[in-house]
Symmetry: C2
Subunit: 646 residues, 2 copies
């Protein structure tokens, strides 16, 4: 293993510039904003106080122009989606309720009007929602249908006589559930419902429904309930919405991809119902990328607190009587450092994801395209976003938990931030798409490459498709899309497997895992073709599919990590990043070593050598742990925890 | 795999009787008590309301005699330690703050006076602390020395002129930290401090120090701070204590194992300082067993909620259009069922632990023995308690988290209990002994068998001992203590490895893992003998030591599980328990399959077969999941979550 440059020659600032990336300016602005006393970390407030405070903070963000980046210039926006997502990511170092409230208002509510509405809607709503003159909700999820959007039960039936839609909740399980901004502040809701006109259902569409009047009372026919206390994020006023034959004007249909004429005639620029559905859902990708970024920021804060405290906290003594700093213990290093390395991998993947979103989002100032040609790379981006959101939010939950435990009893005190970080981010694994469902999406996308072949979002769509198609060609197509192929071709191997730090071997192993899992998965699902119960076959392979998706995300992370290192020109810092990447790779291989052994890719001595190498990397990186968390650039005001400054 | 009896012929009540065990009466009393409206599950209260409520509930427990079981009859107690711990375990299905407050008052404060004090102290304090006329603290932990009790810095210096001890906090890090009952209610504290008399330190002893006067003000020289908001357990008033030359009468030394005469002469029935220290610390074992039991109960409630909700919650559709219940998904089964199986294993181990504690605790009504002969099995019990506390509390944290996620957004709502269960139990992994430190204790005990050989609780004690001793004989001695040996001898193998459900193979594999890890660990540590820095060698083997301890605990769990099944006489229920045990074993082997492959104990095809077998067991047990959680006997009032009754 190459020895690293001495600690004193490594500059956290240089690494921070690499991590800050393309939208570094908004990161610095956000760090400045964190110093504003109005954003000081608070805890222990009751729900109503917290809700009021978060709304005040949202107002400050609006005044500072934080809301504008993702909207067209003509309505006061900045037309810079990348900056919008990056600013959102930085918010997550501080008040996570504010993050989610901002995401609901500008990302989901505003995003739905922007992407699903037309010029008339933009004209009417965008400026007001940016400045918070209008507060809104994104009412998609239903109690009985969280992940299965195509099966939503709420209806919007067109009445040509009145030229109105009648929005209705036909059963209790069709109530809109967990809707942010609903319990206290929201005036409007974008409601997703089955559009019915002339007796025919045209699938899920979005409608603007006023839920509160000017006196802030619920509108007639609208019932609003408060979801009450949650594990965290109690500054967000989540509520439930029920509609009892609520009438809205025809113009309140967000009609970019589907419209109803005064006489009830339905028209759409995208004839294929499935394609239309997915085009509408495509607007959700921004939310998933934002959640992934937010999870990353919260994880960084937790790691920074735990690493800093671990450098001062003593436990037991050496033979010479000197007390031992807890970061010097191997078990402690193994708790924190592989998680730190993976956070770096996820950060680089997030940079690529945000850039990908920015580059595949049409110019917001250009005239509206109602049947947009798909941007190259957009479909893969959606799959990546799903995968990175799932893996990143699970990583956040696990890592923040590990940091809490690594800080002992001090980590359990609210003042040290870890309880709040854990509780607030916990729901990230199940909202904006449940992680298990998202990983299945990734698996499906990998299997087919063409989602149009699916009848719906459900698993059986996959089963049917896989059974229909010539499976070999699917596998071949996957082969052609191997994510690490280019890097493998560009990285000369050393001809033998002797060196555990040989990057070519890393790439080859990651690629093998992904490709093999996918290949065998496709073969397995093929059996569903003639089966009596294709669900049983699909279900038996569910874990296999999730494993394939995870392997794919690992390849994505490695690719982004290596490309990110390329952007660091300074030798000492680059060498450090290479070693962090080594730890990410080797700890991933270690965690999967049972699988690699089963597939003949790790002999018993080599498998043991991987474990020893992870130990060695932990020891080598331990002196640099503080630099590595400093490079995240968490502002002191967000760090906040007394133990981080002990 | 043997097919199970049809679901309708399995009686949850029969399984519950097996699980309820020896102290089933107090379990039933506790289930009755849960119906009392004063114990209804609450959430969202502010800290002061919660603290007041918990104290009220504690009073009800005292009135109902819950506090009496663990104390001598002559002071109003029940002299039945097993009942005391079992009652405590049941409390954890409801209000976990109450559990901890009760544990502090009667287990730690009361336990210290009972076990470290003499008749005079018993006479003076026991009746009052049982009835809550006196509320007390257990002030052991210091801010700078959480796990390292031998290094505590608080001093109690004897002043023969005044016949008083002077209790003093010499530096801020020596403050007593996280002390339950300190911030609001405590009148007395049992303070652990270095006893100094005639200029010589005699090591850590316990002293009764009044901290509040009759008007509830802090006593002169005592500074009390409130630890403030915590992640959970906010009904417990944790505080910090600083002592500034606080004088207490000589009689306030809890003098069972060490006394100071009026002239300052120190005397002790246990001359060996280390042995004395460990005898005093032995009183902590009851706390660890109680925490393990509490963690188990909270885990059971979480599993019951998740399994019940998973039987009604729908997600996506089958080919015939019927919606799929989420418990039918393999990934969901794999989340819940292996955790459920391990909860059974831990429950049986807990039954044995409580029985072991009860049977090795001297009759509380007998005259006090000041140099008690060690009860047979007591030393092993302490090690078991440490191991099961560590493994059980980590299992609780992981499982409750998994249940929260398995319930989606509903699992994030406070009304559904999972947020509270998670937050309240989170600190269990780091209090009453940090889990990592406890597992090291287990490892050390396994390595040596004789803790008297250690100079202190620190790791280097082990290193030095291991370096000194003839290592081969250590390994031999371990060989003689193999926990599963008797069961292996009694279980006929089938002559080949063909059957993955062959119990003899299970036992052999668990035993091999434990023995091999320990054997190689001992060999590794031997190198520390001539090393320049023995800490480095010890530290490099830390993960190895933790793995050995975990393997040992797995053997303990398997042993208890199998012995527990023996106590079930009904064929259908017994077959079900056998299959739950199969899932516990196979999912453990699956998780460790990388290790088994590295050590030549799992071929690649067999390793894959283990995975398939876990899938098959999940499918087989899925219809019985509800029965298995019903058998925990969680009262409806404790289940409480609306989703559990949907």
């Amino acid at each position: 293993m190459t020895a690293l440059a001495p600690l004193e020659s490594v500059d956290a600032g240089i690494i921070q510039r690499v991590l800050d990336g393309r939208w570094h300016e908004i990161r610095d602005r956000s760090r400045e904003l964190a110093k504003d006393a109005r954003f000081a970390v608070e805890y222990g407030e009751d729900t109503e106080t917290q809700r009021a405070r978060v709304l005040e903070r949202l107002q400050v963000l609006a005044e500072q122009g934080y809301s504008s980046h993702g909207f067209p210039t003509r309505y006061g926006g900045g037309n810079e989606v990348g900056a919008s997502i990056t600013g959102f990511e930085m918010l997550a170092m501080g008040d996570l309720s504010l993050l989610v409230k901002a995401g609901v208002q500008w990302g989901l509510f505003g995003g739905a009007i922007l992407h699903l509405g037309t010029e008339e809607h933009h004209e009417r709503y965008l400026a007001d929602l940016m400045t918070l003159r209008t507060l809104g909700c994104f009412a998609m999820t239903e109690s009985g249908h969280g992940s299965d959007v195509a099966s939503l039960r709420t209806t919007a039936t067109y009445d040509p006589a009145a030229e109105e839609f009648v929005v209705h909740t036909p059963e209790p399980l069709a109530r809109k559930e967990y809707i942010g901004n609903a319990a206290r502040d929201g005036q409007l809701a974008v409601v997703f419902a089955q559009l019915i006109t002339r007796g025919e259902s045209q699938g899920v569409h979005a409608f603007i429904v006023p839920i509160r009047d000017d006196e802030h009372n619920a509108m007639p026919g609208v019932r609003i309930e408060d979801c009450g206390l949650k594990a965290g994020l109690n500054g967000v006023d989540n509520g439930r919405l029920y509609f009892d034959e609520v009438r809205i004007p025809r113009a309140n249909l967000l009609n970019r991809y589907g419209d109803v004429a005064a006489d009830g005639t339905y028209s759409t620029p995208i004839e294929n119902k499935t394609a239309r559905f997915f085009t509408m859902l495509g607007t959700l990708v921004q939310g998933r990328i934002s959640v992934a970024g937010g999870a990353g920021s919260a994880t960084k804060v937790a790691l920074a607190i735990a690493v800093r405290y671990g450098d001062t906290r003593l436990q037991f003594e050496r033979p010479d009587g000197a007390e031992i700093v807890i970061n010097d213990y191997l078990a402690h290093q193994r708790t924190l450092l592989p998680a730190l390395a993976k956070s770096y991998a996820l950060h680089f993947a997030q940079l690529d994801l945000v850039a990908g979103l920015h580059d595949t989002t049409p110019d917001l100032d250009a005239p509206l395209e109602r049947d947009p040609a798909e941007q190259p790379g957009r479909r893969e981006l959606e799959s990546r976003a799903a995968g990175i959101k799932a893996v990143g939010t699970w990583h956040a939950t696990r890592t923040i938990q590990a940091c809490r435990e690594a800080c002992g009893g001090a980590g359990y005190l609210a003042e040290n931030r870890l309880p709040g970080l854990k509780a607030d981010t916990d729901v990230f694994t199940t909202f904006e798409g449940d992680n298990t469902v998202l990983l299945q999406l990734v698996g499906k996308e990998l299997l087919t490459g063409y989602r149009d072949h699916f009848g719906a979002l459900d698993w059986l769509g996959t089963t049917r498709f896989v059974a229909d198609a010539a499976i070999e060609s699917v596998v071949e197509r996957i082969g052609g899309r191997r994510i690490l192929q280019r890097l493998i071709d560009a990285t000369p191997g050393r001809g033998d497997d002797a060196d555990l730090l040989d990057r070519a071997w890393h790439l080859e192993l990651f690629d093998f895992r992904e490709t093999h899992l996918l290949d065998t998965l496709a073969r397995r699902l093929r059996k569903a073709a003639g089966a009596d119960d294709p669900f049983e076959i699909f279900n038996a392979a569910q874990d296999h599919m999730l494993a394939a998706a995870r392997a794919h995300v690992d390849s994505v992370l490695l690719q982004s990590f290596l490309q990110g290192i390329e952007r660091c020109d300074d030798a000492a810092e680059r060498a450090l990043l290479e070693q962090v990447c080594d730890l990410f790779v080797l700890s991933t291989i270690e965690a999967e070593r049972g699988w690699f052994a089963e597939h003949g890719r790790l002999t018993s001595p080599r498998s043991k050598a991987v474990i020893a190498q992870v130990d060695a990397l932990c020891a080598a990186l331990r002196p640099h742990a503080r630099v590595l968390v400093d490079a995240f650039g968490v502002p002191d005001a967000a760090l906040a925890a007394p133990i981080a400054f002990s």
